[in-house]
Symmetry: C2
Subunit: 394 residues, 2 copies
């Protein structure tokens, strides 16, 4: 006796990825599928002290409703950190706290996308972003992407052809899923190209601080002379994802409209989580915590890549990321990532089949591998098993 | 250089209520405007102990990503409490944890509403629900509502006329804004009427447990023989709103689609908040806490109503709610709630002008008054000042 779903729901019923990824949650499985941080590095003891202090000092406020834009001292600290990391000059008024970056993606689509408007993205791109955007029924134009970032000639072609292009979604640092980072040259050329168009650039940067080697190129936002770039950042990868605290950086006028939609979506982000993270930033050196993460994840990347070199058939190629959480493998065309997933699961190892990262389909001969969530010995064992599955598939 | 907003944004720019309500946030103002619980009743000391215990026992899990549907032990406890309170027979599989009930409203609109589909609601209705629904651009049909609930003849007329009706949004217990509760007879007649139509009933019940006197009529959900009713419940009013934890009850197939949209909107609700509330429910008697709230809010309601009887001009009528957080006043037609708001603000007292609770406009001669958030002496003083403002306006 229920009514028909809205049209957008077609996009939320097609995915066959959710059920197979559920199989990867079996604790016997060595899973490279998620994008989870290493829980053994969570600052649990520090959080216990902070939880007590926040409730002692701010209990009535920290448990009450609060403003949609977020806790002001936290927004000030986020602005200061962002300025150091991304070479920007933001103030608290340029920051709104969100319930994970996932919420920003949901709200950005609501702000700009009418049914049939076009979103440009890297090829491949983050599948969670596609889920969020899908609620507003966009079309997608995948822009060719090489080792340095979006290919400018293809970007120009896309911008010329897509009359309803509204938004470009990019992850220039340690991209999800490819692990690649855009070069400085390409960032400059990208900003030069997009500045000629009325289009919003969403620079998603959850992993930028997790750099294992080399130097960080300037952010797109630092080259933004027209208020065209919004940056998404998050505490999920550098602190704890379970608190669901992230942020969006943009111009105050943009953020005012953004907040109207955020208020309609969940009123505000957990007050207690915001007070706790603010207290952690005041009382602890989060840069020191990030250095620990970098050191552990660097070792895990090294072990995964070294084992892939040894255990994977030579026809399989993969990226060697300088940071972040993921590497990305391409297999010969005849190998389907989804079929390989089922074979690998028999050997109790899991990954994300890569086809899902292409909004317009194809490229099934790919897979994303996460190295942050498994200890070294399981990485070695899991990659060896995956190598066996690959050899059987070839 | 940014692109045009999506069409839906027109609905997020018209409101003139946000700026005036910001004026009410001045701490010198006696505010009856919000719907805030009394922060002095938050169980701060209990939460300190619980925060430490949760991190001791479940630190790595409580700070990590978690499932979209929510923490299973919490869902089990919510199902058991709901069954006691609403005379339902739900299991954990009928419960999904949400980031406040506001998120459920956002997701329900996404699930069912295409641009131009119709939502039926009480007249007046909760303005925050209208904000959430507006993202999907519905039309609204206000159904005449009297002291017993929706007027069935008008509901039947609306259902016959609105060919694109998809969803009926109602708050049968201590309604926001009116404070009214539907009678048992009217609930039965309502369910009999809607059961003949392919329409979803959203029974929003944030206040039902806050009953000061009399007996609770059975929920609509308890009379639902066709899986047509979804119920929204929340810890915001009976525990702490700052944690942003609420829930939706429905059939498992419905919740599967709901979860696909929730995952796209914020992945999941704060893991730590869920563990903490689960621990509170295990280790403390929340029913005892609710009894304390009821006792304090009853006293505040009594004081507000008594002072209104004394201080308001006789031309102003108002409801005498048996529970919840609000009373609702109607003034002679020549008095505008918005004009009165500005006058009252000069006397440092605030409320919400009532016109905003009518999606199709009109009824500006109304106002919503909250009694849960102010101590008795401020209620007396604020209502006296408001009485003066009313006499000046008449």
């Amino acid at each position: 006796m229920n009514p028909k779903f809205a049209r957008r729901m077609i996009r939320f019923q097609e995915s066959d990825l959710t059920p197979i990824l559920r199989l990867a949650a079996n604790p016997e499985v060595i899973s490279f599928a998620g994008g989870l941080p290493a829980p053994e590095l969570f600052p649990v003891e520090a959080m216990k002290k902070i939880a007590v202090r926040v409730l002692d000092e701010h209990g009535k406020r920290a448990l009450q409703y609060s403003s949609t834009e977020g806790h002001l001292p936290l927004r000030e600290k986020i602005a200061a950190r962002t300025n150091r990391n991304l070479k920007t000059s933001l103030k608290a008024e340029n920051i709104v706290v969100t319930t994970g970056s996932q919420q920003s993606l949901d709200i950005l689509a609501k702000m700009y996308i009418d049914d049939g408007d076009c979103i440009l993205c890297e090829s491949p791109t983050y599948l969670g972003a596609l889920s969020a955007f899908n609620a507003c029924q966009p079309s997608y134009r995948e822009v060719d992407t090489d080792g340095e970032g979006m290919v400018i000639a293809d970007l120009e072609k896309a911008l010329a052809e897509e009359k309803r292009a509204k938004l470009i979604y990019v992850i220039p640092d340690f991209q999800n899923p490819s692990g690649k980072t855009w070069s400085l040259e390409r960032r400059k050329a990208f900003m030069e190209t997009v500045s000629k168009h009325d289009i919003l650039v969403v620079e998603d940067n959850p992993y930028g601080e997790l750099r294992f080697e080399g130097t960080t190129p300037p952010s797109l936002k630092s080259m933004d002379t027209k208020g065209q770039v919004v940056v998404l950042g998050t505490f999920s990868k550098i602190f704890c994802p379970g608190l669901r605290v992230a942020w969006v950086c943009g111009e105050p006028a943009f953020l005012e409209s953004f907040c109207n939609l955020k208020q309609a979506a969940d009123l505000h982000t957990s007050t207690l989580s915001q007070y706790e993270i603010d207290a952690f930033l005041s009382e602890h050196d989060i840069e020191d915590h990030v250095r620990t993460l970098v050191s552990v994840y660097r070792e895990r990347r090294d072990i995964m890549i070294r084992t892939m070199d040894e255990a994977f058939p030579s026809e399989v190629t993969f990226t060697r990321p300088e940071g972040g959480l993921f590497t990305w493998a391409e297999m010969p065309e005849k190998v389907s990532g989804r079929d390989l997933f089922m074979k690998a699961l028999e050997k109790k190892v899991a990954f994300v089949p890569g086809g899902a990262f292409y909004p317009n389909g194809g490229h099934e001969n790919t897979m994303r591998l996460n190295y942050s969530n498994m200890p070294p010995e399981k990485i070695v064992e899991g990659i060896r098993r995956l190598g066996e599955a690959l050899r059987e598939a070839l």
